[in-house]
């Protein structure tokens, strides 16, 4: 029997409906420092679940403002633990859905090989013109950098040499372009497959700064979306953990 046009249409319609039911879309707001790993995690998640991830990247503070003003995000991966907590207390996020998906590590980095020693002595010698950090008011990595300088007793000595990026990406850019000889950046920015990918670096001991806990939360808009819930679960799972570690985050 030849398929009639109406039957064909019906079959087509039914299969489209089936697709829509299974493959939902999830909109994620992601802190800039987690851009590369979330792309890799999303690719794995899409393959395993059939859902689709749409990610928007930005500074945590800016994403917060967007969420508060009706942005269509369903999951939020922040660069700190205070912003997701704040969203939860303000009723913008699902209560109890908050968890730490990664712990950021701070690194003193130079684009030049051999400039940074593995104990960070280069800071004490003070033989550089500019030290790049993230803005301590707005970026957790910038705040951590000032804590390190305080604990090393170098805050006053290097103050005239500090240049600030609005976000950690920009702080990295200043160093990568050679305009600042040194910079405190996120390990994830200079770390690939278990080692520093270029230049020279000192991975700052965790005791010198408060832990940079990056929390994720299921936003109120994502509550009824199976794809959003599935992504949150996937982020807690072993496959995501492997990617997160490979990018130099702790767990």
């Amino acid at each position: 029997m030849k398929p009639s046009p109406s039957r064909l249409l019906a079959t087509l319609g039914a299969s489209l409906l089936a697709c829509a039911a299974h493959a939902a879309e999830v909109q994620v707001a992601v802190a800039a420092n987690f851009t590369a790993p979330i792309k890799e995690i999303a690719a794995g998640f899409e393959k395993d679940s059939g859902h689709k991830v749409v990610a928007a990247f930005g500074p945590t503070g800016g994403l917060y403002t967007q969420v508060k003003n009706g942005a269509p995000f369903e999951v939020f991966l922040a660069a700190d633990d205070t912003t997701p907590a704040r969203l939860e207390s303000e009723g913008e996020a699902v209560a109890g859905s908050r968890f730490t998906y990664a712990i950021g590590k701070l690194v003193l980095w130079s684009a030049t090989a051999g400039r940074v020693d593995d104990k960070g002595e280069v800071l004490k010698r003070n033989a550089f013109r500019h030290l790049s950090i993230g803005n301590p008011k707005t970026t957790p990595y910038g705040l951590a950098a000032t804590q390190v300088l305080d604990r090393l007793g170098l805050a006053d000595a290097v103050k005239p040499k500090l240049v600030e990026g609005t976000n950690i990406t920009q702080a990295y850019q200043f160093v990568a372009s050679g305009n600042a000889e040194l910079g405190f950046v996120a390990l994830s920015q200079v770390y690939r497959d278990g080692r520093i990918s270029g230049g020279s670096a000192w991975i700052v001991p965790a005791g010198l700064y408060e832990p940079i806990r990056q929390d994720a939360v299921l936003l109120a808009r994502g509550k009824g979306n199976p794809a959003a819930v599935a992504l949150v679960e996937y982020l807690k799972g072993p496959k995501a953990a492997a990617v997160i570690k490979a990018y130099g985050y702790g767990l």
């Binding site: 500074p59 803005n135 707005t138 240049v163 600030e164 200043f174 305009n179």
Partner: protein
């Protein structure tokens, strides 16, 4: 008033930056605009397009390219280092260079319009009276183009005051050296301290409005060129 000392230093720095930029832009922009207005060269379209580029490019793109070219590995950076000046990013001089490029079309285009509006006739008349090229330019073209210069100065100044992306990319947010008003506003906004931002942000809004009001009112009173 609740403007802090850092607010005031940011305002002072911004005014210095905008004034110096405007003066430099008038010096650079006048010959460029004159050439664009008078030439029949095939290069006119090319130069005009280059001048207009900052109108359409995102400031972050301009800032990024400046950061790279003026950095120690870039051609401009190598030149300034060879001249013993060091590199320009994170300095006031670097912001001036960035601002001149960023505000260029806002000065060149009004000047070009003003020069074009004069037409050939007054200059030809002056030539028959034996005025040389320089004389014609300074005693005929410049006075006739005065409204264009007013517009160009105001727009160049105001646009530099409102500049943000380029300063952000090049400046490094150093208090008293590269932290201008727009960056000073950005910090508390990003940190979600809106109350702090309101004073400066409100002041900026008021300033921009007054400048534009002055510009458009003066146009109405003196119709004609510009």
């Amino acid at each position: 008033m609740s403007l802090s000392a850092t607010d005031l230093s940011a305002i002072w720095l911004t005014l210095q930056l905008a004034s110096l930029t405007t003066v430099l832009l008038l010096l650079i922009g006048t010959p460029v605009a004159w050439w664009l207005a008078r030439t029949r060269s095939r290069m006119k379209g090319l130069i005009g397009a280059v001048v207009a580029l900052p109108l359409v490019l995102p400031p972050t793109v301009i800032g990024f390219y400046l950061l790279v070219t003026m950095g120690p590995h870039g051609p401009v950076g190598q030149l300034t280092m060879a001249m013993g000046l060091g590199t320009l990013p994170f300095t006031f001089a670097g912001l001036v260079v960035g601002s001149v490029i960023y505000s260029l079309p806002f000065v060149v285009q009004p000047l070009q319009n003003a020069f074009e509006a004069i037409g050939d006739r007054p200059l030809e008349v002056a030539a028959t009276l034996r005025a040389g090229p320089w004389d014609r330019f300074f005693t005929v073209a410049l006075p006739l183009a005065r409204p264009g210069f007013v517009t160009a100065s105001i727009l160049g100044f105001a646009h530099t005051v409102g500049e943000f992306g380029v300063v952000l990319m090049l400046g490094g947010n150093i208090p008293g050296r590269t932290r201008t008003v727009s960056v000073q506003i950005f910090d508390p906004v990003e940190a979600m301290e809106y109350a702090e931002a309101h004073w400066l942000a409100g002041g900026m809004l008021l300033f921009s409005f007054v400048v534009l009001l002055a510009l458009y009112s003066s146009r109405r009173m003196r119709p004609g060129l510009g």
